[in-house]
């Protein structure tokens, strides 16, 4: 965890896109934490239904006369929670299974890989829909469903990296030191693939926020709660497109897109940090441009910088 935080901090220091992404995320986390204290009750009928955006209700009102701004702000809390919780759970479960399989190899690997493969070939979305319909509706059910259908990819990726790390001498040296298996996996191997599991966690969170909104939009969540998914569900229910009341779904959709955008930018930053070639490429292109050359010319030669380096 500490290594993961250090990695994210380092990505923020070096990458502009990552800073933009982190800024967006920070804004939405702030909205999720304090926003609900500042807005009206999102479930109460406050005004005439389907009022367009105006001075009293900045984002307008829904078909039930509820404040859209309040609904968007309050919905942020649950949708972000579902995304982050799923990201963490999927990463924990994937690391547990993947690293164990890769580290022990042999029959343990065979058994765990079989399990992973079974979950990989299960069609994720249909299974998620079936499970969500069967479980009691609510955010925890959504987290459980998305974790169950999403952990296998992370396990597969982390297993592959563990396979290449477990034959390193520092692992053998830890064995010779008398270190136990669990500790070797947790302290010697996992910190060496921090970039991998952090980006898995960020990617999964992005997916989970989108998928949870999708499931709730289909009416598979708890429709009495206010989340981004149920906002969209009610917007359809009230025939938003038919009545032309675009303000009932655009704010939520825009927030969803911005959070996804922020998480993706953060992931790009992490990618650039752990794969320095990407950054070098960009710096090279910039240098070519400054010298009046276009990339792809034959044998680019840049005169040495003033004073030499």
């Amino acid at each position: 965890m500490r290594a993961g935080a250090a990695l994210v901090a380092s990505a923020l220091g070096r990458s502009g896109p990552a800073r933009v992404g982190a800024g967006l995320l920070f804004f939405f986390v702030l909205v999720a934490l304090v926003g609900p204290l500042l807005v009206a009750d999102p479930t109460e009928m406050l005004a005439r239904p389907l009022l367009p955006p105006g001075a009293d209700h900045w984002f307008g009102t829904t078909g039930q006369g509820q404040d859209v701004l309040a609904q968007t702000v309050v919905g942020t809390r649950m949708s972000l929670f579902v995304g982050l919780a799923t990201g963490l759970l999927v990463t924990a479960l994937g690391a547990l299974v993947g690293v164990t399989a890769g580290y022990f190899g042999g029959r343990v690997d065979d058994a765990l890989s079989l399990l992973v493969n079974v979950f990989l070939v299960l069609p994720g979305l249909p299974l998620a829909i079936v499970l969500a319909a069967w479980l009691p509706p609510g955010p925890l059910s959504i987290v459980a469903v998305l974790t169950l259908t999403g952990w296998a990819w992370t396990a597969r990726v982390l297993r592959a990296q563990t396979l290449s790390l477990r034959h390193k001498d520092f692992v053998a040296a830890a064995v010779v030191s008398g270190e136990g298996h669990a500790r070797i996996m947790l302290r010697e191997i996992l910190p060496n693939m921090t970039s991998l599991w952090v980006s898995c966690a960020v990617g999964t969170a992005t997916y989970a926020i989108g998928a949870s909104v999708g499931l709730e939009f289909l009416g598979l969540g708890d429709v009495s709660r206010v989340t981004w998914g149920t906002n969209l569900y009610w917007a359809t229910n009230d025939a938003a497109l038919l009545t032309g009341s675009w303000w009932t779904f655009v704010p939520t959709g825009l927030c969803l897109a911005l959070v996804g955008f922020g998480l993706t930018l953060l992931n790009y930053g992490l990618d650039e940090l752990t794969n320095p070639r990407l950054g070098v490429d960009r710096a090279w292109r910039r240098a070519l441009k400054a010298a009046g050359r276009t990339p792809g010319d034959s044998t680019p030669y840049l005169p040495p910088a003033e004073g030499g380096r």
Binding site: D169, F170, A172, A173, V176, E188, P191
Partner: protein, 274 residues
Amino acid sequence: MTPLLEVRGLTKRFAAGGTLARGAVRTVVDAVDFQVGRAEIVALVGESGSGKSTIARLIARLDTPEAGALCLDGEDVLVREPRGASRAYRRRVQMIFQDPFGSLNPVHTLAHHLERPLELHGRASGAELRPAVHALLAQVGLSPPEEYAALYPHALSGGQRQRVAIARALAPQPELLIADEPTSMLDVSIRMGVLALLRQLRDTRGISLLLITHDLASARFLADRILVLSGGRIVEAGPTAQIVDAPQHPYTRQLLAAAPGATRTAPPATSHGD
């Protein structure tokens, strides 16, 4: 008096061939017998593929042999601990790996590398850890130890890394040290420093050393006895002077002829810088 380590009939086979030759095995170590006495330095010399590193891994219990006995103080540990080495065995037998760039974990400080074995084997804990780590670093010639303890491996040169690896192996205060080509990945100019450190450990602490090497010159510099390994079998064994000056087996003669400096009477040029 029983030798510290006695190996009898040690045999290791690996599966060979792909799908077409399933079931084929290659015998990498073939019924090898030898002993290492207390405070003795024994060199195991052979070319690449002769099975010397496999022997090191077998004695370090990183691999399990198909047959043979591995006796520490006369007791066969393969019988006593068939499912893997006990911590007590790890405390007595330690290993230095060939590649100092691979044997240190890049995400941990040097202090971490040394603290763990100290803790695991009850050599130090809590407030004693820091001074114990510093003492180990000073012992392998990395001073000031307070500064080195906080460094990460990438900040060190190959020779310095190998010294850290040696310090880690020393942390449990072992009786037998297996050194698998400890200098082969190092610059020529710093090899002597590492070899001299190993000899000093034997002289001052009475540690036995099994030196695995393809380099007859370093074997000649360090070892009391030399075992010559070829194709997984020991083809010649004897005191260092006898092997170097009067080799009997043709393979030994080939090795000597191929090694520059191994037959000179003066020790190889020394340089202690890292």
